[in-house]
Amino acid sequence: MDEQTRNILEILEEDARIVPEEIAALTGMTVEEVEQKIEYLEKAKIIRQYKTIIDWELAGENYVYAIIELKVQLERKLGYQAIAERLYKFPEVRSVRLLSGEHDISITVRGNSMKQVAFFVAEKIATLDQVQSTATHFVLKTYKENGLILDEPDQVKRLAVSP
């Protein structure tokens, strides 16, 4: 990857709202160059989406998250892809990952209450043909999300002047 592309991606990963003018000021590229690069990166699907990390708890919205580990039975000819596709279509399911180790697949589910999540898992996930067993872990607190530390202590102050 060339230096300019890396620069743009790093800047955008940190702040999706930054405008091309500002990226230009930070990189020494012209605004047009920045816009062209971003357009290319979007078309090439290197930039997949612009998202916001929200602290819903602070906003007073008490979403409940759970991580559910699944053991699955693979049907003949249909691999993990088939079960993944069934899982990711549920809007409650926020992420789907294939794992190595004791379990095969891990999904993250979001709901409005523990009860709702528990019923969703019992009724919609555990009953799928390929699913052999589930283990549900409710998330009690999120300390870090997508590389962002959510409750980071304030930085130690530096002196106002130093050599």
Binding site: R6, N7, E10, I11, A25, L26, T27, G28, Q155, V156, R158, L159, A160, V161, S162, P163
Partner: protein
């Protein structure tokens, strides 16, 4: 009755020759006020990367709390040696040519003391770090300051150095990338300086503490130039590149005779650098590249932001290719740097440092450190803009 004591009578003559630090005044003025945005800080705004802190914690947990060799941990000296071979192709023997010190500050003091006899002249290229001139005076030497000029992007020329050399000259101190200007210097220019150093049979003290913060072009290590290895005392450290100012970790590299003399002073004054910080430095050299890369890329963005911003305000700023300082000229405003910096602080709460504190040729310039968050840099530029418009 015993007579009263006048303590100042006991202060040594060399102490009396040292002027008070010009930075101090701004420190005092800034420390009272709230809502201050500081471009006056010559240190990174990052906390030391976690893996380095973690290595230090682990080391303390395992009871590593003793003195080390006077030279520093051999593992650390080996890593330092490797890093110079890798980056510059110059080899220093970790056994006898590398000394671990508490900051480049100590290394600088030791280097000057190790080679200076009373009356020896040491040429200090300015604008420069504020410690050089006092360190020469403390060692009983005579600082001879010469100025790198703005017209030449604050690079000193071989001819300018040569003109200052007398038969008392012992060494020259240079610092690239430079504090306070951000200037770097090219290989050809250093080759020409090397010729002068050899011709007059003197030494070079090269303070390379900002080496890793080079954004354009590549840094040339003076001791890697042909024939320069044994004529150079190379100073480098961890404060800036690894964001480890509080660890006080640095090193000097030179011929065994020089390092041995420096070690003798170190042995009887400092004894050795703190072991915990040395462990952190080993970790930094072994596994720190990725973090250095990230920080350097971000400084580079801020550099473009601030230099572009200052130029847009009509404060003519040459392109600093290293360190984390912008050094704009404020001559167009008709104010002196001191007036500008003082009024900017009082009227807009922005701290900058007047350039003449670092030497005469810095007059009419401000040192603006951009080791600050982008938000702070933008806010500072806005406030400077308001200030300049109101003049």
């Amino acid at each position: 009755m015993r007579t009263q004591c006048n303590p100042s009578r006991f202060i040594s003559n060399s102490m009396q020759k040292v002027p008070p630090s010009g930075i101090r005044k701004f420190f005092d003025m800034a420390s009272g006020s709230e809502d201050v945005i500081s471009l006056g800080v010559g240190e990174p705004d990052y906390v030391t990367p976690w893996h380095i802190r973690e290595a230090c914690i682990h080391s303390i947990e395992h009871g590593e709390t003793s003195y080390t060799s006077n030279y520093g941990l051999i593992e650390l000296r080996e890593e330092i040696s490797r890093s110079y071979v890798k980056r510059h192709g110059v080899y220093y023997n970790p056994e006898e040519e590398i000394l671990v010190t508490t900051g480049v500050s100590e290394a600088l003091d030791l280097a000057i003391r190790a080679i200076t006899n009373p009356g020896d002249e040491i040429i200090v290229v300015q604008p420069s770090y504020v410690a050089y001139v006092p360190s020469v005076i403390f060692a009983g030497g005579v600082p001879v300051t010469i100025g790198a000029r703005g017209e030449n992007d604050f690079k000193i020329t071989a001819a300018e150095i040569e003109a200052a050399i007398t038969d008392k000259t012992k060494a020259v101190i240079i610092n690239y990338p430079n504090n306070p200007t951000g200037a770097t210097i090219g290989k050809d220019e250093l080759e020409a300086i090397a010729d002068v150093i050899v011709e007059h049979d003197i030494m070079m003290i090269s303070d390379d503490v900002y080496e890793r913060l080079t954004y354009e072009g590549t840094h040339t290590c003076f001791s890697a130039l042909e024939g320069m290895r044994d004529r150079t005392i190379m100073l480098n450290g961890f404060s800036k590149a690894y964001s480890m100012t509080g660890f006080r970790m640095a090193y000097a590299m030179a011929a065994p005779e020089i390092i041995n003399s420096m070690m003798l002073i170190h042995q009887y004054s400092m004894l050795c650098a703190p072991i915990t910080a040395q462990v952190g430095a080993i970790e930094a050299l072994r596994n720190g590249e990725e973090e250095v890369g990230k920080m350097v890329r971000e400084y580079d963005r801020r550099r473009k932001l601030i230099v572009g911003g200052l130029n847009d305000l009509g404060l003519d700023c040459f392109n600093p290719r290293g360190a984390f300082y912008a050094f704009p000229s404020i001559k167009s405003t008709g104010l002196t740097a001191d007036e500008f910096a003082e009024r900017l602080l009082h009227e807009q709460n922005v701290v900058t440092i007047p350039g003449d504190i670092f030497g005469d040729t810095g007059a009419g310039h401000l040192r603006c450190a951009y080791a600050a968050s982008r938000e702070d840099i933008k806010e500072a530029l806005d406030r400077i803009s308001t200030f300049v418009d109101g003049l």
